[in-house]
Structure formats: structure tokens, C-alpha cells
Symmetry: C2
Subunit: 713 residues, 2 copies
């Protein structure tokens, strides 16, 4: 009997120990190494995969030889190794601000305010990378992970770096060749996922769908937003909204900063009676003007908050600014904390939140010695706090069948579907664009907000980028800057802002594709088929490999941090203050000027001198951009719009236009429509467009359609 | 029977579990928390305490209530907490470059190249701090430790910070009050030591004596050193030495950079036959000129090194610059590696090493995923590699009864006694002085080397600091700068260099006190009795506490990063390029100008305008500075010197002058002498000095004595 038990024990144990890669969803492979932590990124985010969409994509083979992937548990740590080949580039590891190519980097993934160096400490240090070879790896751990992204060399490697003499060899390098990504997980096990391509974009789409698909913002979320001075009162906010209207500047929601509360840092979460005596009336008035309210908060509870006493037992051992720190893994905490939000903010009309200080700095957060009542470690809590506040706050709106679209300072792997855009205190325009590019490799959204500027030129350049981003925000709580603050460029700024509104049908459809298909609305060039085709190949033709005679090949191998794709058809190349001209790398296929429809080049590096009033934007051949009239507020569920459909280039095209009520979750019950816009070429070479009708009983917000063939006209 | 066993088991277990503080050496209290790692800082350094000296100091009571110190092991981590009171300041945590006051800091102790921020990543991240209340805490762990040095606030603290309203309260702070030092050790236990004062200097002395006392350098180690261009050959080095002699500039040892080796980065550790065809002859020639040779190395072994094959099995899984990484915890490694050094360098005449790249950056070292054959983790290896290369290389010289004095990039707790000075690639003169101050709280030595300068003024100012430091080094391997490179200040630089040589009896005696008594030769002001008397007190008199009416009290509470004590009597206040004057805080008691003997002030803040040729130096009342003639090389064992003894101030004084052969370890067998220099005041108010004779058969290198009463003359 005892023998039998021992036998059974060892049999079961060896079953457990025999880790195997398994295709858990189409094209999504998983392995469980050792004994993972009970709490991880996917448990914190807890969003089901979009199985149907994944199934539509179809499965795929495990992209490595099994022997190439090494997983090992030793002395409380898990060691991971994934191979890299000579031509391979990797992207991702979260919201980096200075680098797109991650090969060669050493990163200590750690939720934190971005401190000016790409070292892993950032607002969304997502442990996911995408290979130019068309696969992705996700490490489902809420620990601080050490990543050697092709920067560590093994003595027994089959592809070791060459030893060189630094005294005399000019080819000596301080960063010798490495043939692997290596990861140190400070746990006795971990769950790993590998996402299949074949293209890098498909890898990203699979990751996004596996983590729930992108959020579908309410339509108003894609309009303009202004954040007002932190001590503004109700009247001042109403004046601000009136001023926007008077100036003819679009505005969909206004953000109130800490002064809306009776006390902040730590927070009461209670309206200040002096500044906001009648919050509900105040928000009603704003709503009448088509403007919604977003509230700044951080989660640290003041002793003077009405929820303080009740929530105290469910908070951490340590305080933040003398505020207690809710343990959001506990049901009880959720009830007490968010119920207050629901009853005292959302019920009164609040449309969303800006959730601050869930990222770092170290001195702004609970220390790593903190104990939480749930037993979740301070480290794990830090890596996931941003995820949990997003999930739990968004749930309040969902419960009222209202969509929200807010701001947050921290996110992580698994947070793709939460309707939040990351922002921070850093303020480098160039780096903001790099972050926008990197957001597409990590299932997060990022806003290159405009806050203040030294010159009219800078203000205009920043506002131009804002227009081609997930959230068109002016964050003026400190500077008080308004769109028209620089009279020299006020007209140009307004024109850009109105362009944002005109493009609403395009933006909304692109976000729908993020939600339903996993395609990020703003993307790095490396996800563009016609772009990375060369850099992706392992074997180059002589012509491709000859960088001297093929400057384009060199350009696409180079790290490109200053141009990106916006939606299906647009390539955006922002200008930065001080620049009069810049180069743009055009992927394969013909490209056209967004404003004029003129042909600009194909598969080449061009130099553009757009003038101050334009941000260079280019359209892919056959591209179709649906636009509408320049409204000051996003259309409501009942509003009809007049569509202007622009076609670019010398070939036919197609576009899927999405529509729903723009505010509720009814689309989850099928209340949405996809219409196909088609532009065909007739015998005479002229183009002719058509658009399908919405299905019966499906949303249809189109009043009229005008066609514009930009390149032919 | 079974019951008995269970009983015994629980009995033993509870014995083990009952951790207790124990006075293991006089004034040194220890506790073992949980199950510490088998490998730690004290095991890596492995130096016996100087029991006799500790016994002379006498014991002391444990400085805390037992209940105030919290130690707890949970989920693979050890949590520590030590109390802080309101007035308390803390110093230490290793070689910081920008801060002296550590209260309020968050540090992640991690051996690394200093990256410009005091965040715990530095060359010597020593887990030891000294309190102004007169005790010290040492955490004997070779792990990356997270330190919250009075920066974390607990919900249940008896001294919680006050919650304030950021909206309107001007006293709101982003760094609320904290009443504890908290530490996270990523191990299931740790050894802790508490060092008793009562004064902060006594705490430091106890720590230093417990870790073996400071090194006693060979006398030549305190002379001048120049490092030559990395590709210099033997002839060029000999020319350099000749040039120093010709210019009348002191020189005791020359450093050869990577080019002395046939290949470097990784290293062969073999002389380059082209540049150094006859190393032994070359070194003999230099030695005849009174100049020794120091060799640059890093420990990473080239495939072309003669030791490569033999040492390969005892090296790490990962390489550094394609060089293999010796596991220095293994006896076999020591044999193979250091034996080569002994036979091929030291036997031929090499006097010491500069051991580079044992610190970081991350990308310059083995990754944390590395496995070492001993089973010691990569993390522990990184925290202790600097200690081990110091210890093991120094042992080679000791075996030949020769002292060495070299340079190293990394050290840690326990390394006090190793004859190495830390240097780095950072180059901020002000921060170099802050590091010199901090070195005194951490049992390490630091050189504010001069490397290159933009202006003659900067060169002179840097050279002035160099003279008042543990190693007077010009590190010109890259810049090629020579002391006389700026003709405008060449004379002044030479005068300073000769002053260094004149002060040799003082420096040598002060290092002897570091060795025998644990008193650091270069010290922060907070270790000075007359200085910290106010900041140390818990209860201030009204006058002391009133910062408005007592600016001196304010000054001593302020973080002072730009003045320090050099030996028993000197206060040094370096000038930085661009400054014409500066303030100096004079501790209690009268102070005198080092150069003129004039009274300058007492217990006050003075402003000095010293001119370009002087670095402000002040002497304590009754101070005695023994000097000698300005030789170009340190005196040898047989050389006699002519002593010039300077006395300062209006009161009698005493000084202990140390002497031995200056080269061997014979002093450990008692072959040394302490002579007492006494200056008494006669009836007529005149001073009269006397000096005791060396005991029979003890070293006596004095030829003649001249007395100079600086203040009376």
C-alpha cells in the first residue's frame, strides 16, 4: 500500500514536472514552469481572451525548436532563455521612451515614473516582446523581472562572441554579440506564453486579443480634452467651457485636478463644498454644452475621508503621504472604495477618471517592505496596482452601461482592454513619439499630451502630434495654457483640432479594429508589412544586404523613433520645434500627401519641408479616409453626420467603417455595424466609390456622403 | 518515544527561533535572524576582528529597546526595522557621491559604476549606517538590499506623519516624516550587527576594527602616482619617469594601462612582447629611479591567456567581453589565477594592481542569470567580487612580506583592511569630495584623482584636493595630462605635490591610526566631536534650537559635502574651479590657518578667499603636524628624514608619530614605534616641544628635528 502511494506520488509529480508547451488558444502557446506565484499579471487584469477573433486568425506552430527554449528553477528563481538569430530584432518590453529596438538592452521591469532612461522602470513595463521573426513572448509574472534582451553571452553558446584585443583592434566592442533573450524571474516558477505570427503585426494582434482586445472608447473620448487649473471652482470651469465654444475650439471633456476634493494627497474623494457646492448641477450644465467631466484622483485615503474608518482594515501596513493604501485584491476593499466613487461621482455625472501616482517614484509609493492584508507582496502590488485601478473603476461605468475613457499613470501586461490612456510628468516631444510607437508593442495607449511650450512653434508642433494620438489632450492644470494661448499660431492650432474632429469616423473605426481585431490604432513602423519585409528576413539578397548601394535597406534596419502609422492607411511623421524639414522612410508601395493627394514616393527615404502649419502625413496607395464636418463635440447616439470619404492614389481601395451608439455597451449585444466603403476604378480610369448600408436595426448615423478622389482631382 | 522526539524537536526549534542580541566583541552586538545565506559579506572578506583594539575601547550597552528593533522572515524575504528619533541623522550606506545625510533616502544597494544618482548603485554599496545618536547598524548580506532610510511611514506607527491638504496647505510635503530605517533582504535570514558609540566616530572605529582595521599602506603608496597612456612601451614609461625627475616632481609609482598585456578585454595577463620585451629589466630600471610599477587588470580571461584552459572549468556560465569569469570563491581558481600573477608579475617586480570593471555597469558584467560553479548566485558574486579580488591579490604580496597599495573599482562591507583605494570614471570635483567624506562612514578609501581639466584653474584646484586624499593620483592614461601640462599653474601644482611629500610623516601616522585604532584618515565633519555635538543631541537648548538666532546651529545641521577632516588635526575645505571664495564651518574650539598659523575663528561660519595657489586648510588648536623635507620619493626602510614639527594655536598639544620600515609586514611582529610629540607651554607663555625616543631595536628614521610654533611666530 505504502509502495503504491509512493508510486502514485512520483507518477503525479513527474506529470507535473513534465512541463509542456500547449496551444491554449489558436496561435497562443503556453507552458507552466515550476510553481508559479498565485498572483500574476493575468490574475490581476482578469480579462477573458477574445476567443472568436483568435479563432478567426487560425492557429500556428510553436516557433522554436523545443530545445532552444530553456526554463529552469533554482534557488527561488526561475531562469528563462529564448534564442535570437543574427538578423533578428526585438520590440516591446513596455512603454520605453528612447529606444524601439530592444535587442542589446538590459531592463529591470519595474512599474515606476519614467526617469529619463530606458532601463525597465516605466509606467507600463510589460514583460512582452515581439520579434521581427514573427513571434512574441509574454512572461506572466507580477515580479520585478531582469531582462537581458540579447545582451548576455554564454561561455557554452553555439554562437559565442569573438574575443578581440581592445589594445589594437578597432572592431572591439563593449557589447559583444549575444544569441539569446535571458530572463530572471524572482519566483519558483512562472507561466510563459508564446504568440505566433507569422507577421509581427499578427503577433501583436494575438497578444491583444488574448488579453481582451483594445478598449472601444466612447465617441466623445476621441474628441478634445482640456485639464483646468487645480484650484478652479465650478464657475471657472463653466467659463472655460464657454470660452472654448466662443473660440470655436472643440471640447468633449474637461479634467478637474486635485482641488475638486475637499482635501487631497491624501484624498477625501469628496467634492469641495466651497469650490463645487452643487456638483450634479455643475455637471448637468456642462453636459448641456456637450462637455463631460473627468476627475483626478490617486487611491490614497485621507483620515478625513468618509470611507477611512471602514476601509482601514483592508489597507497596507504603510501609508502614502499619510494616506492609507487600499488592498485592491480584496472584495471588501473594492466594495467600500469604489462604491463611494459610484455613489458620489458617477451617479452625479462624472464620465471618467485620471488616476495618478499608481506608478512611482519609489518615494511616492509604498515601500517594498509593505505588507498588504491579502498577503500579496508589495512588489506584486506595485506591478499590478495600475491594472487593478483601471479594471475596477471601469467596471463601475460598465455596470451603468456607460463607456468611460480615462487617464492612468501605470499599466502592465494584461491591461490591453482597459479604457485608459497612460500619461506622465516627463515632457520631451521626441520621446513622447517614441513612446507612442512603443505603446503598440505592449497593448497600452499613450498620450503625447501638450502641457505648455516655450514658443508658439513648439506649441503648434506639439498640438499637431496630439491630434494624431489616442487622446487629444491639453494638460494645463499647472500652466493654464489654452489652445489659443499663442496668438501667432492660434488659427493653425484650431485648424488641427478641427481636423481631429473631422477624422472622427476614421479614429472610431480604427479603435473598433483595436477592439475586435487587436490591431493597435497607432503603430510602430516595424509592424507595417511593406516596411519590415527586409529587416524581417534572415537571408538577404545581395542587393538588400548591400547597405552602401541600398540606403532604403539601411533605413528600415535603423531604429526609427519619429514616424508611425495611424490607423490603417496613414503614416505620420511629426515635426519637432526647431526643425524646418525632416526625412521620412516610406514603406513599399506608393504614398500620397494627406493634404493634397499628391504622389510623394515609394519605398524610399524622402525629405519634406511641410511649413509650420502642417504635420507631415502620408496615405498608402488606395487609402480611404472617412471624415465628417468639424463639430465641436463628438456626435451623440442620435446625431447624424455628413460623411466625406477621401480616396488616395492610383489604385482601388476598401475600408471598413464602424458604427454604434458611441456611448454604451450595447455593441456587445450586436448593436453595431460594419459598412464596407469601396472605391473601384472604372473603364475610363476614373474612380467611383460606394458604401454598403447598415444592416436592418443596426446603428446608422450617416446623413449624407460626399466622395473626394484626392489624387485625381 | 515518538512524543519525546517531537518534544526535543520543538524544544530545539524554539531555541533556534529565539533570536537574541549578543555582544560578540566589546561594543559589537550581533543577532542571527532566520536562516541566513551561507555566503555573505564577512565570509567573502574573511578578516578577523582586531579584538585587542576593540577590547581597549571597552564594551557598551545595546542602544535600542529590544522591542524597537523588528526582524521578520516572510516569503523568502527578511524584513528589518530600526527606530529613528526626530533629531536623528544617519550617514553611510556606502560610497555616495551627492548626499551625506542619508535620512529620507531610498537605496537599492547594488555594486555598480556610479551613475550620477545616489540610489544605492555605487562602487561600494556598504550596508552599514552610522547614527548621529552614536550607534551603527551593519547588515551582513551579499544580496541587493532595499533600504528605506527614514523614508517609509507605517500606518500603525507611534510617530505617524501628519496628513495635510495639498490643495491649500503650504506645509504639505511629498516626503512625509518617517520614524524608522526599514530594510528588505531577499533571503530567508540575515546576520545583523549593531556597533556602540557613544560618539559616531567610535561607532566607525568599532566597525573598522571589527572588519580588520584600515590598511597600512607601504610608505611609497602615499607618494605621488601617475598613470601613463595605455599603449606606452617600456621606453616611453622610462622617459616619463625621467621627465618627472627632471621637472622635480615627486613620483613613487607609475600605472601601466591595458597595453602592457599582449591582449586585453579579455586579458591574457601576459606582458606584450613588443611593448615590454624585458619586463623585469624595465622594472629594475624604474626601481633604481625610485619608481614602482602598478598594473591595470580586469579579471576576465582571454581564450589566448596561458591560464585559459586550466581555469575554464572554474568559471561562470556567462562571459564578459568574451572573456571567462573566474569563480573566486573556489580554491582551485585562486591557485590558477593568482599563481600566474605571482609568478609573472610580482616576482618580476610589480608592486600592485589597478583592478578594473569588477563593479558594473550591468552591461559590463556578467548578467544576474549567470551560474557560478560554486553555486554562489550571480547577485552575491557581484556584491563581493571586488572584495575577493582585493583580498586574494593582496595575499600574494603578503606572502612575499611586501605591502601593496592599489586601486579597485568595487568594494563592500568587510573590506576595510584591504590595501586598495576606490576610483571610477565619474569626474565631478565637488562630488569627488562628497565621496571622500562618505568613504569615512563605510570603511573604504576613495581617490579624487585628477584626470584632465578644461582650464589651468581647474587643474590646480583638482590637484590641491588630490594632495589631501588617500592616494595622490594623476590618472592620465587617456588624456596624457602631466602635472606641468598647464604652464600657468605648473609651479603651484608642483608646490602642492611637494607639500604632499613633506606631510608624509603625518599621513603615514594617520594611516597607522586607521590600521591600529580604526580612525579613518579622511573623515566627514559629522565624525568630529566639536562639530556634531549639537546635531547629535535629542534635546536642544532653546538657543541651540533657535535656528534664526543661531546660524552656527543651522550650519551643523545642514548637510555639509565640501569640507572634511584630514588626519587628527586638519580641516580641509577644497576650492572648485570658478570659485574665488567659500564658506567654511569651523567646529567648536579655536582654528588656525595651516599655512600661516593665524587664528581664523571658532565655532562659526567663516568666508575665505585663499587665492588660486592655496587650498584652504585649518588646524585645530594645539594641533601638531610633523613634516619632512620635500623628497621626490617616499623614504625607504633605511632612509633618515629631517623632521619639521609644526605646532598651531594657543594651547599645548600632543601627537603620536608612527614609524616602521614602511614596506613589510614586520610591524605585525612588533617592529614599529609610536613616539609621542608633546608641545608644552612654559611659564613665559612660550611653547616648547619634545619627542620621545623610539624604543630599543624599534624603527627610528629620524635624523634631525626642527620645531615651528606657527601661531607664536
Amino acid at each position: 500500500m505504502r509502495f503504491l502511494l509512493i508510486f502514485i506520488y512520483f507518477f503525479c509529480f513527474s506529470l507535473i514536472a513534465q512541463e509542456q508547451w500547449e496551444e491554449v488558444n489558436p496561435g497562443v502557446w503556453k507552458i507552466t514552469v515550476g510553481t508559479p506565484d498565485e498572483f500574476d499579471l493575468l490574475k490581476a487584469s482578469n480579462v477573458p481572451p477574445k476567443i472568436e477573433a483568435l479563432t478567426r486568425m487560425g492557429g500556428g506552430n510553436f516557433p522554436f525548436d523545443l530545445s532552444e527554449v530553456v526554463t529552469e528553477v533554482r534557488s527561488n528563481h526561475t531562469y528563462l532563455r529564448f534564442p535570437l538569430d543574427r538578423q533578428e530584432q526585438i520590440y516591446g518590453f513596455g512603454l520605453n521612451f528612447k529606444t524601439v529596438h530592444q535587442r542589446g538592452q538590459i531592463l529591470h521591469l519595474h512599474v515606476d515614473h519614467y526617469g529619463g532612461r530606458d532601463n525597465g522602470r516605466t509606467h507600463a513595463p510589460v514583460p512582452f516582446y515581439v520579434s521581427s521573426n514573427g513571434y512574441g513572448v509574454f512572461i506572466n509574472s507580477a515580479r520585478y523581472l531582469d531582462i537581458y534582451a540579447g545582451s548576455a553571452a554564454r561561455k557554452d553558446s553555439e554562437n559565442p562572441p569573438e574575443a578581440r584585443d581592445r589594445n589594437t583592434d578597432r572592431n572591439w566592442t563593449s557589447r559583444p554579440y549575444s544569441d539569446a533573450v535571458e530572463v530572471l524571474v524572482p519566483s519558483e516558477g512562472v507561466e510563459l506564453y508564446v504568440f505566433v505570427g507569422p507577421s509581427p503585426l499578427e503577433v501583436v494582434r494575438r497578444y491583444n486579443l488574448f488579453t481582451g482586445g483594445g478598449p472601444l472608447p466612447p465617441r466623445w473620448g476621441l474628441g478634445f480634452t482640456q485639464r483646468v487649473h487645480k484650484l478652479f471652482n465650478a464657475e471657472q470651469v463653466l467659463e472655460e467651457a464657454a470660452l472654448f465654444e466662443e473660440k470655436g475650439f472643440p471640447l468633449d471633456f474637461i479634467g478637474l485636478e486635485p482641488g475638486w476634493q475637499s482635501k487631497s494627497y491624501p484624498n477625501t474623494f469628496v467634492w469641495d463644498k466651497g469650490r463645487f457646492p452643487e456638483p450634479e448641477k455643475f455637471m448637468d450644465k456642462l453636459k448641456e454644452k456637450g462637455v463631460r467631466v473627468n476627475l483626478w484622483v490617486n487611491p490614497y485615503v485621507s483620515p478625513e475621508s468618509p470611507i477611512y474608518k471602514e476601509i482601514r482594515p483592508y489597507t497596507a501596513s504603510h501609508t502614502v503621504w499619510a494616506g492609507i493604501v487600499p488592498d485592491f485584491t480584496l472584495e471588501k476593499t473594492k466594495e467600500i472604495f469604489w462604491d463611494h466613487f459610484d455613489k458620489n461621482h458617477i451617479e452625479q455625472g462624472v464620465s471618467g477618471y485620471k488616476i495618478d501616482e499608481v506608478d512611482g517614484y519609489d518615494r511616492y509609493l509604498w515601500p517594498d517592505v509593505t505588507q498588504f492584508p491579502s498577503g500579496i507582496s508589495a512588489e506584486q502590488m506595485r506591478q499590478t496596482y495600475g491594472l487593478m485601478v483601471q479594471k475596477q473603476s471601469a467596471a463601475l461605468f460598465r455596470a451603468r452601461n456607460k463607456r468611460t475613457y480615462g487617464l492612468v499613470r501605470a499599466s502592465n501586461g494584461g491591461g490591453t482592454s482597459f479604457p485608459y490612456v497612460i500619461y506622465n510628468d516627463y515632457y520631451n516631444h521626441e520621446d513622447f513619439i517614441t513612446a507612442l510607437i512603443n505603446s503598440s508593442f505592449s497593448g497600452v495607449l499613450w498620450t503625447p499630451e501638450a502641457r505648455a511650450s516655450k514658443t508658439p512653434e513648439e506649441w503648434l508642433r506639439r498640438m499637431q502630434s496630439v491630434v494624431f494620438s489616442p487622446m487629444a489632450m491639453i494638460n494645463a492644470w499647472s500652466s493654464g495654457t489654452k489652445p489659443w494661448s499663442f496668438p501667432e499660431v492660434a488659427e493653425e492650432v484650431k485648424e488641427m483640432a478641427l481636423l481631429r474632429m473631422q477624422m472622427m469616423p476614421y479614429w472610431y473605426s480604427e479603435f473598433a479594429k483595436y477592439h475586435f481585431d487587436g490591431t493597435p490604432p497607432f503603430r510602430g513602423m516595424s509592424l507595417e508589412d511593406g516596411y519590415q519585409i527586409i529587416s524581417q528576413k534572415n537571408t538577404l539578397t545581395d542587393d538588400e544586404a548591400n547597405l552602401e548601394t541600398n540606403p532604403y535597406a539601411e533605413a528600415v534596419r535603423k531604429e526609427v523613433k519619429d514616424q508611425y502609422m495611424a490607423g490603417e492607411y496613414l503614416l505620420v511623421a511629426p515635426m519637432f520645434a526647431g526643425e524646418e524639414s525632416r526625412t521620412v522612410i516610406l514603406p513599399r508601395g506608393k504614398w500620397y500627401d494627406f493634404y493634397t493627394g499628391e504622389f510623394v514616393g515609394q519605398e524610399e527615404v524622402i525629405t519634406v519641408t511641410p511649413g509650420l502649419d502642417k504635420i507631415p502625413v502620408f496615405v498608402k496607395n488606395g487609402g480611404i479616409i472617412p471624415m465628417m464636418e468639424p463639430l465641436l463635440h463628438a456626435p451623440g447616439p442620435e446625431d447624424k453626420i455628413n460623411l466625406e470619404i477621401k480616396h488616395y492614389g492610383d489604385k482601388p481601395g476598401e475600408y471598413l467603417l464602424y458604427d454604434d451608439d458611441g456611448e454604451t455597451f450595447d455593441y456587445e449585444q450586436g448593436h453595431y455595424s460594419w459598412r464596407t466603403i469601396t472605391v473601384e476604378q472604372k473603364g475610363n480610369g476614373m474612380f467611383k466609390g460606394s458604401i454598403t448600408k447598415a444592416e436592418k436595426n443596426k446603428p446608422d448615423n450617416i446623413n449624407s456622403v460626399v466622395w473626394k478622389y484626392m489624387t485625381n482631382e
